[in-house]
Assembly symmetry: C2
Homo-oligomer: 345 residues x 2
């Protein structure tokens, strides 16, 4: 089959690899119907050292079950299934606490002999725990929205949930990428009445307004902080959802959070240390939370509103490439000419 590999910064290729097969009785093999390129794929796209073996790519996909191991009971051949960006047993204590990314028996795509979603098919370990069947066919117009449950929607929701967003919280979302926009949608669903979106790409922030943002702040740095404080009566926001991962976004978050408030990070941090001392987090009793979203934990909760059309998170996809053209998708997202790219094998 064809699968996407990255061989170094900027070097994405689609190559032939062996077809995945069921190896364990708990495995399933899923033929990929829709995949996509993630903002976090751009981090290695910028910085990965050249490697002759390459790494398989993609951690967001949905598709049709083609084969299952003898122990698999919750999905069957022919089901259309959504795969979250981590695989997990959904039964251990961490999973029961909703922290599937720390599953005792789980793992991530593209590691330890498991492939990636930007491919024609994927072997899915612990299929019963990992996959969620969706009651639609592979020609459903809902597929792009359902695909967001793989990662970006669940990740935005995780940011909002961990920040304790509710009717009484003011919210600032930092970043107008797909995760930032899904954080806006999630904050709105959790009842927030003021949602300030910090971003400077009008096409994206316009979509953010349609998804629930009440204010847009295009300024950055001290000017951006001053603007958010002005919009929040001088105090800053109770909940700051940081959906970027770079240090300036962290600093922005510290600058706009209200005393006693929460900074909830879901952008993968591209730094290892950051200000947390008296002058940043400690003095004003600010809480720092977040991490890789247990997307699996949220699929059943978020899917009904997708199925009945209440929300349309698939609007974050603004272009589509064939699998063999996936490198064009990376280029478009890197150049910000595309917000998020669908990949159709």
């Amino acid at each position: 089959m064809r699968a996407t590999y990255m061989y170094g910064a900027g070097d994405v290729r689609v190559i032939d690899v062996p077809d995945p097969i069921v190896q364990q009785p708990t495995d399933a093999v899923v033929r990929v119907v829709l995949a996509c390129v993630c903002g976090s794929d751009l981090h290695p796209y910028h910085s990965m050292p050249a490697t002759p073996e390459g790494h398989s790519m993609g951690h967001e996909f949905l598709g049709v079950v083609e084969d299952v191991g003898s122990d698999v009971t919750t999905v069957a051949v022919g089901d259309l299934v959504i795969a979250p960006f981590a695989w997990s047993d959904n039964t251990c204590d961490f999973c029961r606490e909703g922290l599937h990314t720390s599953c005792r028996h789980g793992g991530f795509w593209n590691a330890n002999g498991v492939g990636g979603g930007q491919a024609e098919a994927v072997r899915v370990p612990l299929a019963d725990g990992t996959l969620v069947a969706a009651p639609v066919g592979e020609d459903s117009p809902l597929l792009p929205s359902l695909l967001t449950l793989s990662d970006v929607y669940g990740t935005g929701f995780h940011a909002a949930l961990r920040a304790g967003v509710n009717q009484r919280t003011t919210v600032t979302v930092i970043g107008d990428g797909a995760v930032g926009l899904m954080a806006v949608l999630s904050a709105r669903q959790l009842g927030a009445e003021q949602i300030i979106l910090m971003g400077r790409h009008p096409a994206r922030t316009d979509l953010g307004v349609e998804l629930g943002a009440t204010d847009v702040v295009a300024e950055r740095g001290a000017e951006g902080i001053a603007r958010v404080r002005e919009l929040t009566g001088g105090d800053g926001a109770h909940a700051v959802l940081e959906a970027v991962g770079h240090m300036p976004a962290y600093e922005q978050a510290v600058g706009v959070v209200r005393p006693g408030g929460v900074i909830s990070r879901v952008g993968v941090p591209q730094y290892s240390s950051a200000p947390v001392g008296f002058g940043s987090l400690f003095g004003p009793n600010v809480t720092l939370t977040g991490g890789p979203a247990p997307a699996r934990a949220y699929i059943e909760r978020l899917m009904p509103a997708v199925l009945d059309g209440t929300v349309d998170p698939g609007r974050v996809f603004d272009s589509t490439v064939a699998l063999d053209d996936v490198a064009d998708g990376y280029r478009a997202m890197d150049a910000r000419t595309s917000l998020k790219v669908l990949v159709r094998p």
Copy 2:
């Protein structure tokens, strides 16, 4: 009157200053009956640059109201009152949210013309909001325990509360100083059944066991982390209460926290940046919280168990000095020959 001033690292003197008087209609003047030296007083004791003016010291005291301004209604001359380590109006939105340390009209002792508690008397701004009357006389044997409500008990309680401690959480307390021991007591009161105290001063950790610690880990660094993990089935603790403020304590906290758990800091950080990236907090979805405790918020909640003898937090005081000998108290705490020193003017 006599009052304690620090003139630089290691240089503590008791000097004559003008008697405090009511300046605002919302002020009270309190004659100090009991004060104490705080672990956080040792930070400037180690590092304060020499200054000819000196700084007044002390932020924990209780005493008898000697005079009140015309607007004061909740305390009266003759009342025995507890002063939390920050003064506040107790009516603004931050105070109503329980964040008195961010009060819109409040402040801290030893700043902006307000003196400190290691003195014969103190002018208390916003007396109605700041002071809490205790139904005891100035000869009550409960005074040391009531004095802990000024800071260390409320601070330990804040650590436990912010960490979400309850019956289902395993707890690790880092630091066997007075705040660490109060964090142990608080975690026990909030229902925790396993409380691991990290500390290496047997007299202190023995007291910690009496206050509720179920395990003591004297080891530090990698060895200490391994020991806590062993005691928690390999996973680490749900709630880590960090009551020190130095970087090794922070690193210890990161090492012993369970995925999805909380590090709650109440030791004043002596660092400005710290590890928060994928390998420390982000990857395992660890939450970092805490800050200066709104001690005022907890006085009414914690006082009944002190008054009825259910708890005896005053046991953290193991020596007493006269006000004129306060420098001896600093020396004893610095040398760790005393856990916490009472000061009797």
